[in-house]
Subunit: 186 residues, 2 copies
């Protein structure tokens, strides 16, 4: 079931993949998928092997005022990566960099479970939300890469709050500030 779910989410995206189709590909009854995983959301989390469920920490990020959201995002990312979930998070990044399908899964995870919720609460057109979300993701991903993977100093050992102070203004601009938005060319 998880293999079928990974294939479906990677190929058709979160929105395009249905529990019915995943069950069909796995040769089981859709009721069995529901029995094991409950919702499509829970099946997706299990398929991605996410180290944490964003639903556990996103409410705290979103509870503050919009003008402090940049700092809240950085602080939360560092808390997850400085916590016990780091090995699993690192495994997820490694897998995404190594395999196209894992990259597609992680992209869907970042898009559906994080960006949509962090930006979803801001009142703006969908295309603007996607563009701002991708810019936020680019700074967050690079921070993680430098602090936890390449371990480039001083980012590797600096106290979390110093990193928040340095990077939060960037995220705040991407979230709510003045930005020339990149547009998709299909």
């Amino acid at each position: 079931m998880l293999a079928a779910a990974r294939a479906a989410f990677a190929e058709r995206g979160y929105d395009g993949a249905s529990i019915r189709a995943i069950a069909g590909a796995a040769g089981v009854d859709p009721a069995l998928v529901h029995h094991y995983f409950g919702t499509k959301d829970a099946l997706f989390l299990a398929a991605v092997q996410a180290p944490v469920d964003p639903d556990e920490f996103l409410p705290a990020v979103l509870s503050g005022p919009p003008e402090e959201r940049g700092a809240a995002v950085v602080r939360t990312v560092l808390r997850v990566w400085d916590g016990p979930g780091r090995p699993a998070a690192l495994a997820l990044v490694r897998s995404a960099v190594n395999h196209e399908r894992s990259a597609a899964m992680l992209r869907e995870f970042v898009l559906v479970k994080i960006i949509r919720r962090v930006i979803g609460s801001l009142d703006m057109p969908r295309e603007e939300r996607e563009a701002r979300g991708a810019l936020v993701a680019s700074q967050v991903a690079g921070l993680v890469l430098m602090r936890y993977v390449l371990r480039l100093e001083p980012l590797a050992s600096a106290p979390a709050e110093e990193v928040v102070a340095a990077v939060a203004p960037t995220l705040q601009r991407y979230l709510t500030g003045e930005v020339t938005l990149p547009t998709r060319r299909d």
Copy 2:
């Protein structure tokens, strides 16, 4: 020789590794290393398997005025990644994410061959240069990850100049603007 060079650069860093020690570890005469690679710099480039030699494009980045350096950095990164060097650059990133030693090599490469030169021309204390350089590297690395590895839209397909317009102000702030600098804790 390359294996010995990789071990030395990863363990002792670019500054700490000497051609004499590398030759010793490889069981050859230092003159042979010089004969094959010329300088320590050239040996380092070969050991990293860098897709491009930063010396070829950094002069163009550094020739403009300091207040346009952020845009010049993004433009140059996109030119390299949109060019024929992408597969080799991707291989470098994959290797760094998978192996500690490769991560150390890439960190040295980013630090010695790129950050030092881009920021080296700005007049400020060494610690400030390192902190600003690491912040620049974090945004650049994340942009590369989202545009070329995860292929997150609209960053994946947006025209280069739109990406430059969106991200350059971030790099400009990290390079020369007001930033609370993160500090190393050893």
